[in-house]
C-alpha cells in the first residue's frame, strides 16, 4: 500500500503539534510497511538536521532514505512559512503580492478571489503559499505511484482535492486542528471554507479526538459516519538517549509551567488570572510561560497589571534541550487551552514526570485519566487545583507516577494501525475497488 501524504511542517521546523504528529505517524506507518511519499513546502531555515534529513530542493525531489523512515520519501515545495501565527505576532498583514501565475484548477481561483490578497490572522503570504503548494502538487503526483491521498490540515486540503480529482484516488483528510479552535468565533471565512470543502470532499475524515469530531460534525456539517477518531501518540525515546539532563530543581520556588504558543487558542490569560489567585494563597510559586505568539507582549503587560509581574517569567520560544529543561523544572504543567483538538504537550510533560492540569476543552481530557481537568474559563477551580498540587505531595506523586505510566498507552504504532485500517476500508469500498483492492 502506498500513500501520497501532504503535510506542511516536519521536525525540526515546527510551530506546533502538526509537525510532531506527522513525524510520529509517518514513522510508525513506515514500520507497518506502508510506503509514503511525503510532500512538504520547502523548509525555512536549514542548517541543523534532526532524525529526518530535510532536503532543500527546488520543486520536487525524492529524498534519500533516512533512519527510521525506510518507507518514507520526502518532497518539498519551496515555501517560507509557518502554518499558524507564531513567533512575531506583529508581522504585518500586508496586501498580497499580486496575482499568481500558473495556477492549476478552480479551487485555487476560488481561494484567491475571496481572499483578495488579505488573509486575516495569518501571515500575509500564507494564501500564496497554499496556492503555490497546490499548483506544484500535481507535477509531483504525476510521477508518483500511490493508492490513496492523505492530507494534513487545511493548508494541504486544496492540494489533496486536486490530486484526488485528477487521479481518481480516494482522499483522506486528517484534522489536527480547525479554524474554530484557532480563532474561536472570529473565523477566517476563507480558511473555514477551505476546511469545509476538504472535509466534505474527502472519503474519510480522521480527527484527533471526539472533541474535534464534534466540531467537524456540528460546525462543518460533516456526516459523522465518515469521521474516524484516531488519537495521537507520543514518542517514547527508546533510542537509549535520555532526555533527562540534570537540571537543578529550584529549592526556593515551586514552578508552574505554561508551554505552548501564546495565542488566543491556548488561553494564556486564564493561566495568569489563575496565577494571581494562587499567589493569594501560596507564596514561593513562580509561573513560567514558555513560548511565543501574537499575545506575548500583551501577556507581559497583563501580568504586570495583575500585580504578579515579579512572579511570572517569560522565556520566549524554546527549542530542543531547553524544552526538556523547562519540563524538568516544573512542579506542574498547565494547559488552559480554549480549544485544543488533542494536546500532545501534556503527554510530553508526563514523559518528564510532571503532573498535568488540562482544560476540559481538549481532546486529551477525553482519554487521559490521571490528570486534573478544569473548564478553561473556571480560573477559580484552576487556582484551587494548582494550589492542591503544590500543597499535597501525595496528590502530586500520584498524578506524576500514574500519569507517567498512562502516557505509555499513547503509541504512534497504535495510531498507525488505525490509519491503515481506514485506508483499507476506503480502498475496499465499491468506488475504489477497481484496480486498488489488492493492497
Amino acid at each position: 500500500m502506498k500513500a501520497f501524504m501532504l503535510g506542511w511542517e516536519f521536525p525540526p521546523f515546527i510551530s506546533g503539534g502538526l509537525g510532531t504528529a506527522c513525524h510520529g505517524l509517518t514513522k510508525a506507518m513506515g514500520r507497518l510497511g506502508i510506503r509514503i511519499a511525503f510532500v512538504l513546502p520547502k523548509a525555512q531555515i536549514s542548517d541543523s538536521a534532526g532524525t529526518v534529513r530535510v532536503l532543500s530542493a527546488e520543486g520536487y525531489v525524492k529524498s534519500e532514505e533516512v533512519g527510521g523512515f525506510e518507507h518514507v520519501s520526502f518532497h518539498e515545495i519551496p515555501s517560507t512559512l509557518r502554518p499558524y501565527v507564531s513567533a512575531t505576532g506583529d508581522e504585518g498583514y500586508g496586501q498580497g503580492r499580486g496575482p499568481f501565475r500558473g495556477g492549476h484548477g478552480h479551487y485555487v481561483r476560488s481561494w484567491h478571489s475571496q481572499a483578495s490578497g488579505q488573509v486575516e490572522n495569518y501571515p500575509h503570504d500564507m494564501a500564496q503559499q497554499v496556492h503555490r503548494y497546490t499548483s506544484k502538487i500535481l507535477e509531483i503526483a504525476t510521477v508518483e505511484e500511490f493508492d490513496i491521498v492523505h492530507a494534513h490540515d487545511w493548508m494541504t486540503y486544496p492540494a489533496g482535492i486536486a490530486v484526488a480529482q485528477s487521479t481518481g484516488k480516494p482522499l483522506i483528510v486528517h484534522v489536527h486542528s480547525t479554524e474554530c479552535d484557532r480563532s474561536g468565533q472570529n473565523l477566517n471565512q476563507n480558511v473555514y471554507d477551505i476546511e469545509r470543502r476538504g472535509m466534505h470532499f474527502a472519503d474519510r475524515v480522521i480527527t484527533v479526538s471526539n472533541y474535534t469530531k464534534n466540531i467537524i460534525v456540528h460546525r462543518y456539517g460533516v456526516n459523522p459516519e465518515k469521521v474516524k477518531v484516531i488519537y495521537n501518540g507520543v514518542e517514547h525515546d527508546n533510542d537509549g538517549k535520555s532526555v533527562f539532563s540534570h537540571t537543578q530543581p529550584d529549592e526556593m520556588n515551586k514552578i508552574v509551567l505554561f508551554l505552548g504558543r501564546i495565542t488566543m487558542q491556548k488561553g494564556p490569560e486564564y493561566f495568569l488570572m489563575a496565577a494571581q489567585k494562587v499567589l493569594e494563597k501560596v507564596e514561593n510559586v513562580k509561573f513560567v510561560m514558555a513560548g511565543d505568539g501574537d499575545m506575548t507582549n500583551r501577556m507581559v503587560e497583563f501580568a504586570a497589571y495583575l500585580g504578579i509581574g515579579h512572579r511570572v517569567l517569560f522565556t520566549r520560544f524554546l527549542q530542543g534541550i531547553d524544552v526538556d529543561r523547562a519540563y524538568q523544572m516544573a512542579d506542574l504543567y498547565v494547559m488552559p487551552s480554549v480549544s485544543e483538538p488533542f494536546g500532545i504537550a501534556p503527554l510530553e510533560a508526563l514523559k518528564h514526570k510532571v503532573p498535568v492540569l488540562v482544560s476540559k476543552q481538549s481532546g486529551i481530557a477525553e482519554v487521559l485519566t490521571h490528570a486534573l481537568k478544569v473548564d478553561f474559563w473556571d480560573i477559580h477551580q484552576m487556582a484551587n487545583k494548582i494550589v492542591a498540587v503544590l500543597k499535597y505531595p501525595v496528590l502530586s506523586r500520584m498524578l506524576r507516577e500514574y500519569g507517567h505510566s498512562e502516557m505509555y498507552k499513547f503509541r504512534w504504532d497504535d495510531a498507525a494501525v488505525k490509519v491503515k485500517r481506514v485506508y483499507e476500508e476506503v480502498l475496499t469500498e465499491p468506488a475504489f475497488m477497481l484496480g486498488y483492492g489488492d493492497s
Binding site: K281, H370, Y392, P393, M398
Partner: protein, 432 residues
C-alpha cells in the same frame, strides 16, 4: 431447615459540596444534592420497599422476618428530608418481625484507625436505634462488612453482642459452606453469620443482567436454589444493600414482584423458614472456627480494603482525618465534632478509588465526582479548613501540628493491625 436470614444495609452519606481554598464559610456539605438523592431513593426504594415488607409481614402473620442496619447518617437525613420513611421503619419495628442491627453511626472506617472513636460510634448508634425503634441491638455489623479476628475481640470487649455479620469469603472458608454459624477463634461468646454471597449477589447484582445464563430469575427458581441447600446448611444469609430494591435494580426489572412472591415460594417447602439474625443465633450452634487474621470486607472481587485504602491519596486522606481526632475532640465544639464525624463516612474514600478508574463501572455509578483526584482535593481542602477551625478554638500550645504526608502513613492502622494479629500469635505459640 434451612432458615433464610435477610439483612438489608440502608445508608446514604453526607456528600460534600465543591469546596475550594477560596471558600470562606465552613458549610462543607451539599444540602441540595443530599436532599435530592435522599428524596429520590426514598421514592424509588425506601418507601415502596418498606410498604412491601410491611405487607408481607402481615400476609404471613409473623413467619416472614427481616433485619436492617440503618446508619446514623441516613437516619439524620431521613429526619430532615424524608420523615415518611422514618415513620414506616418505625412501623416495621413495631411488627416484631424486624430486627435492627448496630454499626458505627457514621458508616466509618474508625475500626482501622481509632479504637476510641469506634467504640463511641457504636454506642451512639445503639442509642439512636433504641430511641427510634425501641430495640437494643444485639448483632453487630461493621462498615462494608470489614472484619478480622481483632474486630471480634473488640466487639467481645465492648460486650452486649451475640453475633457479627461477616462476608463468607471463599479464601477464608475454603471448602466449607457459609450456610452455618461459625465462631471467631478469639471471642468465645460471639457467633458469626456469614453472607452467602452467591445467592445474595444473584439478587443484588445479577438480577437484571441479561447476559447471565440464569436470567430471568423467578422467585420460584430462586426458591429451588434455597431448597437445594436443605440438609446441608442451617441458614442462608442474604445480605445486600436495601437500595437493590428499586434503585440499583429498577422497578421495571421486576425486582419488587420477585420479592413479593419470594416468601410464599420459599415457605412452600415445609422445612424452610425465615429468621432474624438474633433468632438464628438462638437456634443454631456454631459448627466451626472462622479464622480471619487479615482484614476482609464485602467489597469488589478482592473482598479486601482496597476500595478505601488502595492508593496513596486514600491512605493520606484517612490518616489526616484521624490525626485530627484529639484536636477535634479538645475543642468540645459540637459542630466541629459533627463535621469531623460526617467526614468519616467510608464513601468519601471510596470516591478516591482508582482501582477500576480506567474501565469505569460500579464505582462510577456511586460517584458524584469527575475523578478520584477531584474527590481527594475536595476532601483535604475541607479537612484543612476544619483544622484551622480547631486551631482557632483550641489554644495553640495544645495543638500538635497537622501531620504532613508521607511518614508512617497510618500508624494507628498499623498498630491496630498488629494488635489484631496478637491473638493469632498467642494461639500459634500455644500450638507450638
Amino acid at each position: 431447615m434451612p432458615s433464610i436470614c435477610f439483612y438489608f444495609q440502608v445508608h446514604q452519606p453526607f456528600r460534600l459540596r465543591k469546596y475550594t481554598i477560596f471558600d470562606q464559610d465552613s458549610d462543607y456539605f451539599n444540602e441540595d444534592k443530599n436532599a435530592e438523592i435522599c428524596e429520590r431513593v426514598a421514592r424509588k426504594c425506601y418507601l415502596p420497599s418498606n410498604l412491601l415488607m410491611l405487607k408481607l409481614i402481615r400476609q404471613f402473620e409473623g413467619t416472614f422476618k427481616i433485619a436492617y442496619s440503618v446508619t446514623g447518617t441516613l437516619l439524620e437525613q431521613l429526619e430532615l428530608y424524608a420523615p415518611g420513611v422514618l415513620a414506616s421503619f418505625q412501623k416495621l419495628a413495631s411488627t416484631g418481625c424486624v430486627e435492627f442491627l448496630t454499626e458505627t453511626y457514621h458508616h466509618s472506617l474508625s475500626f482501622l484507625y481509632s479504637r476510641e472513636e469506634f467504640v463511641e460510634q457504636i454506642r451512639l448508634h445503639g442509642q439512636t436505634i433504641q430511641r427510634l425503634f425501641g430495640q437494643k441491638p444485639r448483632i453487630f455489623r461493621n462498615t462494608e462488612l470489614i472484619y478480622n479476628n481483632d474486630l471480634a475481640s473488640a466487639i467481645d470487649q465492648i460486650g452486649g453482642f451475640d453475633a457479627i455479620m461477616v462476608e463468607g469469603a471463599d479464601h477464608i472458608l475454603g471448602y466449607r459452606s457459609p450456610d452455618f454459624l461459625y465462631r471467631p477463634p478469639n471471642a468465645a461468646g460471639l457467633k458469626l453469620l456469614l453472607k452467602n454471597y452467591r445467592l445474595s449477589d444473584d439478587i443484588a447484582f445479577r438480577f437484571s443482567n441479561r447476559d447471565w445464563c440464569q436470567w430471568p430469575v423467578t422467585s420460584e427458581r430462586f426458591a429451588s436454589w434455597i431448597n437445594a441447600i436443605n440438609g446441608n446448611g442451617h441458614v442462608v444469609n442474604l445480605f445486600m444493600d436495601y437500595e437493590t430494591l428499586g434503585e440499583h435494580q429498577w422497578e421495571d426489572t421486576g425486582i419488587f414482584r420477585f420479592m413479593e412472591r419470594l416468601p410464599s415460594e420459599i415457605l412452600k417447602h415445609p422445612d424452610n423458614n425465615f429468621k432474624t439474625p438474633s433468632e438464628v443465633v438462638a437456634a443454631y450452634d456454631a459448627v466451626g472456627e472462622f479464622d480471619v487474621p487479615y482484614t476482609i470486607s464485602w467489597a469488589d472481587i478482592e473482598r479486601d480494603l482496597s476500595a478505601w485504602r488502595g492508593n496513596p491519596m486514600q491512605e493520606n486522606a484517612l490518616h489526616r482525618l484521624y490525626a485530627l481526632e484529639d484536636h477535634v475532640k479538645a475543642t468540645n465544639d459540637p459542630d466541629i465534632i459533627a463535621d469531623w464525624r460526617r467526614l468519616q463516612a467510608s464513601d468519601h474514600f471510596y470516591y478516591m478509588c482508582t482501582k477500576y478508574f480506567a474501565d469505569g463501572d460500579v464505582h462510577k455509578y456511586f460517584n458524584h465526582y469527575d475523578s478520584p483526584y477531584e474527590a481527594y482535593i475536595n476532601f483535604v481542602t475541607v479537612l484543612d479548613d476544619l483544622y484551622s477551625r480547631c486551631a482557632v478554638r483550641c489554644p495553640p500550645r495544645d495543638c500538635k501540628i497537622l501531620p504532613q504526608d508521607e511518614p508512617a502513613s497510618d500508624i494507628k492502622g498499623l498498630k491496630s493491625e498488629v494488635k489484631g494479629r496478637k491473638p493469632e500469635y498467642e494461639r500459634l505459640k500455644s500450638e507450638v
